[in-house]
């Protein structure tokens, strides 16, 4: 598409000029504070170039890029080995779409400029007893005059320590069927009664938190959409834009996973000193993985193309999610096992690096956050079976509210 060649060239040049060549080494072992600082810096660079909220209308500070243009942008960013911008995932891709779809004009005026300026938001959805079964959430919001009083606990809230706002799902009608008694709020994270506790994950990072709410007051004008209509509002966070931003994943897996493995494995030897890559078992395995990464690129491209033409990321997105996450896991597992003992040496992570940190053993373990997060692969398989193939859903036990 020659119409986008200019954009492609611009982004490419911008990446070369802006992304420090050694940012990974600079960021290796960064603590949480350093990570946030680097993330803010990167966000500001993107914002200055108009790449931060490219899909937003100009009236809200965006660049009004069409979906095909966004595709080009994300492809080039990943080709340029850009850092992964994590701190504004929730604000840009979860909060903003919900507010744009279901918010009043006043709410849009209030919140969208804050998000456009780079404000950090967090997401208060999951609870200890409401993971895959999110609709079972128990956090309560009780109307009292012009406020709601909120009590409960959320988990897996990323960036909760830095966030200024939180999109919160809470139960406003305990007697209604499960999904029909939930409301969607914007909660100011500086409100009294909120306690945030970081959770250390198994590779030592503390991106996620538990969030406790003890009689937190949320003004009624922070309710997004109708009371008890929150479930529907939350569904709108899974938008086309989010899916499009994933186009870079294949490129990253290719370059920092597969091709990086081939590059470093060239120096690895078998016990007798012959190259590991001369072992035909190893060759066959890499040959297989090579092709599977190519397939990932093709399948992601096809998904995005369908998006562009038909709009909406359908259940095919679940197929892609399963395929990508399990390919990532298989590739990292293979690489880790091939690396053997040297691969077991503990190295500090590179927090802004996404899923491929050039450390195969760590990346293998970390890959489980993807087979679990964003909807477990078991749930994804249910969706594929039910929505793609029309298979019957599991029957619910008698007497349970839907």
């Amino acid at each position: 598409m020659s119409e986008f060649e200019q954009l492609r060239g611009e982004v490419r040049e911008w990446c070369a000029a802006t992304i420090p060549a050694d940012w990974r080494e600079q960021q290796r072992g960064a603590d949480h504070h350093q990570y946030i600082e680097f993330q803010r810096w990167w966000r500001d660079q993107l914002a200055a170039a108009g790449y931060f909220i490219p899909h937003w209308p100009r009236e809200w500070g965006g660049s009004a890029m069409s979906l095909p243009e966004q595709v080009v942008l994300y492809e080039e960013l990943s080709r340029g080995d850009a850092p992964r911008l994590g701190i504004t995932q929730v604000s840009v891709f979860n909060a903003a779409p919900a507010i744009m779809h279901a918010g009043t004009d006043e709410q849009k005026q209030r919140y969208l400029p804050l998000i456009a300026s780079g404000q950090i938001w967090c997401q208060g959805f999951s609870e200890p007893n409401a993971g895959s079964d999110l609709a079972g959430l128990q956090t309560r919001a009780v109307r009292d005059g012009d406020h709601y009083v909120v009590n409960g606990q959320k988990i897996w809230t990323s960036m909760a320590r830095e966030a200024e706002q939180c999109i919160l799902l809470a139960r406003t009608d305990p007697d209604a069927p499960k999904t029909k008694g939930i409301s969607f709020f914007v909660m100011d994270m500086r409100s009294p009664g909120i306690e945030v506790r970081p959770i250390k994950n198994l590779v030592g990072d503390s991106e996620f938190c538990e969030t406790f709410m003890d009689d937190v007051l949320i003004p009624a004008e922070n309710l997004i959409g109708p009371e008890n209509g929150g479930w529907t509002v939350s569904q709108s966070t899974l938008g086309s834009e989010r899916a499009v931003s994933l186009i870079g994943l294949a490129e990253l897996l290719r370059r920092n996973g597969r091709d990086f493995l081939i590059e470093v494995a060239a120096d690895w030897t078998m016990p007798d000193g012959t190259p590991a890559l001369a072992d035909s078992g190893v060759r066959e395995a890499i040959g297989g993985l090579y092709g599977e990464v190519e397939i990932l690129r093709l399948v992601l491209t096809r998904m995005v193309t369908n998006l562009l033409h038909h709009g909406g990321a359908g259940p095919e997105a679940s197929v892609v999610k399963i395929y990508y996450t399990e390919l990532l896991q298989r590739l990292m597992k293979f690489a880790s096992e091939l690396h053997g003992l040297p691969g077991q040496i503990l190295r500090a992570g590179v927090p802004s690096s996404g899923w491929e940190t050039h450390d195969f053993a760590r990346d293998f373990i970390h890959s489980y956050s993807w087979t679990i997060g964003g909807g477990t692969n078991e749930i994804m398989r249910n969706i594929v079976g039910e929505q793609v193939l029309g298979l019957a859903r599991e029957p619910r036990p008698e007497g349970l509210r839907r």
Partner: protein, 388 residues
């Protein structure tokens, strides 16, 4: 050599006692405290295990041990894996001591084995080269002849477990003429121990550098003519002990995961009732049961003095090492997936098992290498050069 086999009842009792001792003295809380500890293990635990006779269990009665079959001592090794216990017991009393029993002269044995048994001396084995491989061609340290019939050792051994705690090392070295093995005192000035931090923080590997370390003839354990055979036998002891460690992990992870999915409710029912979860666990039970017979077989093969050919031993040990260590990693990954988000936290124990299983997979030979070893024994024609 008189090998005493326990009855089934005695084995069960040994397992129960071991499990109780470790639960009291090395519970998970203590394991976690030691993760960041410099020494990396609890010397009082080590003393307690010495008191219980664990260091001497399978060593010869002539040296002060109990002469129990390795196949029964295996119970204790698995329990240590199950409890992800840190400490030099296996390195010293199983692997290094095993090397001594196979190769040491009467004088050397008399000097060292009783001390290993009473815990006053901790020993370990140094052999791997760059890349962590442990075949004869990839031994790390090198040797050259020295005056008076001894040797001089240079070079580096990598991933030496418990090197920092060790008083004595059984060092394998490669040179013209072949592989040799020697007893080296850790305090020798030419030895530098540099800790290697592993993903698995319950173990303490280190690189050990040798700069002109002289070894007298009386400290030699194996000359070039029998060094390679000794190396293979010691690697097999290490591989079997590692497979036993992974078996202990595999068993407990399946147990704990089953418990979790039974009591975790989503969508109005226990998630263990969903077939995706249930079938994954069923496959893991299959892996545990097949691993059980595999490690039992390997432990029997390793039994010092067992009348088994080298070929049979290699097949039994390599089979267990490859299969059981792979199985444990699979089971840990499945466990992580079945636990969902909570399994991904540092606070949850899943990652401790997972990381230990991953290190085991690579220690004393990768699964790929061990499968090549089996292939070399069971297939006619060419040996794969990578197993030399």
């Amino acid at each position: 050599m008189n090998i005493v086999r326990m009855s089934a009842g005695e084995r069960t009792e040994l397992q129960q006692t071991s499990r109780r001792v470790l639960a009291e003295r090395a519970p998970m809380g203590r394991v976690r405290e030691l993760l960041d500890d410099d020494l990396g293990h609890d010397p009082t635990l080590f003393s307690a295990l010495v008191e219980l006779g664990w260091t001497g269990m399978h060593l010869p009665e002539t040296a002060g041990g109990s002469g129990v079959a390795f196949a029964d001592t295996a119970v204790v090794i698995s329990e240590l894996g199950r409890a992800v216990t840190a400490g030099p017991l296996v390195s010293s009393a199983i692997i290094a001591a095993g090397a001594l029993v196979l190769s040491a002269s009467a004088d050397q044995s008399a000097l060292l084995l009783p001390s290993i048994i009473d815990g006053s001396v901790i020993a370990t084995v140094a052999l791997a080269g760059q890349g962590g491989h442990c075949s004869a061609a990839s031994v790390g340290p090198t040797w050259r002849p020295a005056a008076g019939g001894g040797i001089t050792i240079d070079g580096e051994a990598t991933f030496v477990l418990d090197a920092a705690s060790a008083d004595v090392m059984v060092v394998f070295a490669r040179g013209e003429g072949g592989v040799v093995a020697a007893l080296v005192d850790r305090s020798h000035p030419g030895i530098t121990v540099t800790p290697t931090t592993a993903l698995d923080q319950t173990r303490r590997p280190a690189s050990v550098r040798f700069d002109g370390v002289e070894v007298s003839a009386s400290s030699m354990l194996a000359e070039p003519r029998d060094g390679a055979a000794l190396l293979a036998a010691v690697v097999d002891i290490g591989a079997t002990a590692t497979a036993l460690d992974s078996f202990g992990i595999a068993e407990i992870v399946v147990e704990r995961t089953a418990e979790y999915v039974k009591q975790r409710f989503q969508f109005g029912r226990s998630i263990g009732s969903f077939q995706a979860i249930k079938h994954r666990l069923a496959d893991d039970v299959l892996l545990v049961e097949t691993s059980r017979v595999a490690v039992d077989n390997a432990a029997a093969a390793v039994d010092l003095g067992a009348g088994m050919s080298v070929r049979e031993r290699v097949i039994a040990v390599a089979t267990a090492k490859a299969y059981v260590c792979d199985a444990a990693v699979t089971i840990c990954g499945d466990s992580l997936q079945s636990h969902g988000g909570i399994g991904f936290t540092w606070e949850h124990d899943t990652h401790l098992y997972f990381k230990r299983a991953m290190l085991n997979q690579a220690l004393f030979g990768t699964s790929r290498w061990h499968r090549h070893r089996v292939a070399d024994e069971v297939l006619p024609l060419a040996r794969s050069s990578s197993t030399v």
